[in-house]
């Protein structure tokens, strides 16, 4: 009886995932139609598309190999098996022991490999170029997925999906990776495929998207899961899974729309950061903050040295010092620097390329009488007792930024004779900045620098 229940839960899971894949495709097409102000497709559109394709005649390129018709089947078999393996609404299904990260990522990669080989089969130039691009994308996404998921598995000392350990930070990082890597738009069918083979590729693409989303939902929100051997818990589990899946799809869609031109390379950095975060849990957060702050400061100095936009680079250096301040236990210094950066950048943006722009540069260089000097002073004074080397490094950073900024001012910031865009507001912001700087001198805030 138990085995029958587990088998039924597995099959129901597969059917549910298939239905959710179709729903996701329908939502995508309706949303696309709404955005382009076209007519809304009917609710059964994905099914109608698939059934229409199944009835159409096939096309076989003259130079295709005998394996030409095997690729869609291989892609569907691999992704279908992944759909049966990924944990869905219930725990303890009959495939639960195979819900392992390497197998799941391997099956998804196998489906993608079949698509790439299908595109290469006909020997067409354009399709081949698309295949090469898909293979390179696959190379990147496989690495990123495995590294990101390894970050979760290292903590759990296990690769089983239900046993993965998550923390809010890791879930956030995984979400960023997913936003960049999970395809929100529809995927093109590879090669010269028509009729049923084309339908299979469409179905595989839909199912793969749903499998990846289900995997993310399982990892990020491991709540409301039914027990496969307790049939009475199934309805609640089904409802919870559908709600989680819908919310996940919404987050991915919104995230994808908000960062439409983000480079896929960002996902690699985030995945690596997740792995380092998972490994460095024993290291105190303060040390991580100080180390990150120093790295950010050096990155800003390098950008200044390379004569990249001065204001951004100087703000990066100051942000690094602020981060180090948070790590050193002087959050007030950090906050003063961050507020100072905001005021100086705002004033510079409104002032244009003139004398006020130069004052903003001086402020970002951490010179008195502006508020950034106060923040820098607090942080560096706190750094010397902790480590003279750290204090010297921060001081050297400040001196270098001042020399680089004021010694060779960028023409993008200063151009004599140019007019101010909003002189009053930028002037007011500078006044605020000066007030922030002289507040400790005038003893406006008694224990500010203590």
């Amino acid at each position: 009886m138990t085995v029958a229940l587990r088998l039924a839960a597995t099959l129901l899971d597969g059917v549910l995932l298939l239905a959710l894949a179709l729903t996701l495709e329908l939502a995508r097409t309706r949303l696309a139609a709404r955005i382009t102000t076209g007519p809304l497709p009917p609710l059964t559109q994905p099914l109608r598309d698939l059934s229409k394709l199944m009835c159409k005649r096939r096309v076989r390129p003259a130079f295709a190999s005998p394996l030409h018709d095997t690729w869609p089947l291989a892609a569907c078999a691999a992704t279908g098996l992944a759909a049966l393996i990924v944990p869905g609404f219930a725990d303890g299904s009959i495939t639960a022991s195979y819900a392992q990260l390497p197998l799941l990522i391997g099956l998804i990669a196998l489906g993608r490999a079949a698509r790439v080989l299908a595109a290469l089969d006909a020997g067409e130039g354009l399709q081949g170029r698309g295949a090469a691009r898909a293979a390179r994308t696959g190379l990147w996404s496989d690495t990123v997925w495995l590294v990101a998921l390894a970050a979760l598995a290292i903590g759990a000392h296990h690769a089983s999906i239900p046993a993965l350990q998550t923390s809010p930070a890791l879930v956030m990082m995984l979400a960023v990776v997913a936003v960049v890597l999970v395809p929100v738009v529809g995927e093109a069918v590879p090669g010269d495929y028509a009729g049923p083979e084309r339908a299979l590729f469409f179905a595989e693409a839909m199912l793969r998207r749903a499998v990846l989303l289900a995997l993310l939902v399982d990892i990020a929100v491991p709540y409301g899961i039914a027990d496969a051997t307790q049939i009475l818990t199934w309805p609640l589990g089904l409802v919870a899974f559908v709600v989680k899946f819908g919310l996940g799809a919404l987050i991915l869609a919104v995230g994808g729309a908000m960062v439409p031109r983000v480079s896929p390379r960002i996902s690699g950095g985030v995945a690596l950061a997740a792995l380092v975060w998972a490994l460095a849990r024993d290291i105190p957060v303060t040390s991580v903050a100080i180390g990150t702050g120093l790295c950010v400061m050096v990155a800003g100095l390098v950008r200044l040295w390379q004569r990249q936009p001065s204001l951004e680079a100087a703000a990066l250096v100051q942000a690094g010092i602020a981060l180090a301040g948070f790590g050193l236990g002087v959050p007030r210094g950090g906050w003063v620097i961050l507020i100072g950066i905001a005021l100086a950048r705002g004033a510079a943006a409104l002032a244009g390329r003139n004398a006020i722009g130069f004052l903003c540069l001086a402020a970002l260089a951490g010179l008195p009488p502006f508020g950034l000097f106060t923040g820098d002073f607090i942080v560096i004074r706190a750094a010397f007792p902790v480590s003279p080397l750290l204090g010297a490094a921060l001081l050297a950073g400040m001196v270098l930024v001042a020399i680089l900024l004021l010694g060779r001012p960028s023409p993008s910031v200063i151009r004599p004779g140019s007019r101010m865009a909003a002189p009053l507001v930028s002037g007011a912001l500078l006044v605020l900045l000066v007030l922030l700087g002289i507040a400790p001198v005038l003893n406006l805030i008694a224990d500010f620098a203590s």
Binding site: M54, R60, F63, S65, P66, L67, H68, D69, T70, L73, A74, C76, A77, A78, L81, Y98, Q100, P102, L103, G106, L107, A109, L110, A113, V116, L117, L120, D121, G123, E124, G125, G128, R129, A131, A132, A135, R136, G138, L139, W140, D142, T143, L146, V147, A150, A153, I154, G155, A156, H157, H158, A159, P196, E197, L200, L272, L275, V276, A278, L279
Partner: protein, 409 residues
């Protein structure tokens, strides 16, 4: 006639070692005092498994070899000596002998892809402590990623075979560094069974098409269907994708990395992830550009399936690799194979999908094959263009200028 007979004897030896790998409970020691100072051999089930893989690949190489049969036999014997050695004298003696044979006789190269990894494993097992060491993880990770990268960008099939052998050695080193000698043995056995068939295939292609370069091959699946099928199996196992021996080895080491955790596990996990992606890319590129699409040269268009001995030579190690995958990952491997077979069978019989049976439907490319057209195909160079490091003088000049800017006073 002599070499096929010797190959049969070696095959029988492989079967014997395979039986010992399953049956041997305790190590079996042999002392040979009259053979040298302190010569001693021992055999346990792990060594028997490695030797079975070496002999299986060796029998295949011997079947396909046109020259250098005695050198192959000598290399196999030296490898057996190195794997069974129980002291440093015997180990170094056999290792140097194997190295000398590989260095002197170029004809043994496919067999060397089976012999040298086994010898290196014996050396590594002797040198690395059983509970692992980060000093083994780091070079293993570098070797794995480097081999994956080389396999993904090279044009030469023989170099791909060498990269595969190196990649599995790297993976085995990572496994040893993580304190899992059994996982390392599985990696080496997989490499022993996958790399030699690729090396043999490169030799065969060199003979039948005049080139081993992926840029001049293409469309082999039409003229060489059986050879292409075996190449698909070889590249499939190489790709570390399921189902296959490569995936089984990858998974065992990755699981160990998760269990160990810490910085060692993290480095191993990141390296394995990168290796997985690079080997997948290289395998897709290798098979897709050699066997699919249109022929890129007249001889590739006219090539035909090789003789039975070569097909058998390729099949033997690949069958061993499949057996290894079934032993290591029974249900996923068998499950995927059965699902694939049933779906294909169903598709052929009931006809929802128009699948050509593999035994029929092969036609030679027509005589009017337009050789101007393949210029529009993607080439292997173009396929891997995104992975190549900038080596032209312009990039070098830019780099030197940047360096000068940084270091100038």
């Amino acid at each position: 006639m002599l070499m096929p007979a010797v190959a049969c004897v070696i095959l029988a030896g492989a079967c014997g070692f395979l039986a010992l790998a399953f049956a041997l409970a305790a190590p079996f020691d042999v002392l040979v005092p009259w053979f040298g100072p302190g010569t001693a051999f021992a055999l346990d089930s792990g060594q028997a498994g490695v030797l079975a893989a070496v002999l299986l690949s060796g029998a295949g190489c011997l079947l396909a070899a046109r020259t250098g049969g005695p050198a192959i036999v000598g290399l196999i014997l030296a490898t057996i000596g190195a794997v069974l050695a129980q002291n440093d004298y015997t180990l170094i003696f056999a290792t140097l002998l194997a190295g000398l044979i590989v260095f002197r006789f170029r004809a043994v190269e496919p067999c060397a892809l089976a012999a040298l990894p086994a010898v290196l494993l014996a050396l590594a097992l002797y040198a690395i402590p059983p509970d692992g060491s980060i000093l083994a993880i780091v070079p293993g990770a570098v070797m794995l990623i480097g081999a994956g990268w080389a396999g993904a960008i090279t044009l030469d099939l023989a170099r791909i075979a060498r990269a595969v052998a190196c990649g599995f050695i790297g993976m085995a080193l990572v496994g040893l560094g993580l304190g899992a000698p059994a996982a390392a043995r599985l990696c080496i056995e997989t490499g022993l069974l996958i790399a030699p068939p690729l090396g043999l295939a490169a030799l065969e292609l060199d003979g039948s098409t005049g080139t081993r370069s992926l840029d001049w091959l293409g469309g082999l699946a039409r003229g060489m269907p059986r050879f292409s099928f075996l190449l698909l199996a070889g590249f499939g196992f190489t790709s570390l994708l399921p189902p296959g021996a490569g995936f089984a080895a990858f998974r065992v080491v990755l699981d160990r990395a998760f269990v160990v955790g810490g910085w060692g596990g993290g480095v191993a996990g990141a390296a394995l992830a990168t290796g997985f992606a690079l080997f997948g890319f290289g395998a897709i590129r290798g098979f897709g550009l050699a066997c699919l699409g249109r022929p890129r040269s007249l001889r590739a268009a006219a090539a035909e399936d090789p003789g039975l001995s070569v097909l058998l030579a390729l099949s033997l190690p690949l069958a061993g690799a499949l057996g290894l995958a079934i032993t290591a990952e029974p249900l996923p491997t068998v499950g995927l194979l059965v699902i694939g077979f049933l779906v294909r069978r169903f598709a052929i019989r009931s006809g929802p999908i128009d699948v050509t049976p593999f035994e029929s439907g092969f036609a030679k490319p027509p005589a009017w094959l337009p050789f101007g057209d393949p210029a529009t195909q993607i080439t292997a160079t173009g396929f891997a263009a995104g992975l190549r490091l900038p080596t032209d003088s312009r990039h070098l000049r830019n780099g030197l200028t940047l360096l000068h800017r940084v270091i100038r006073p």
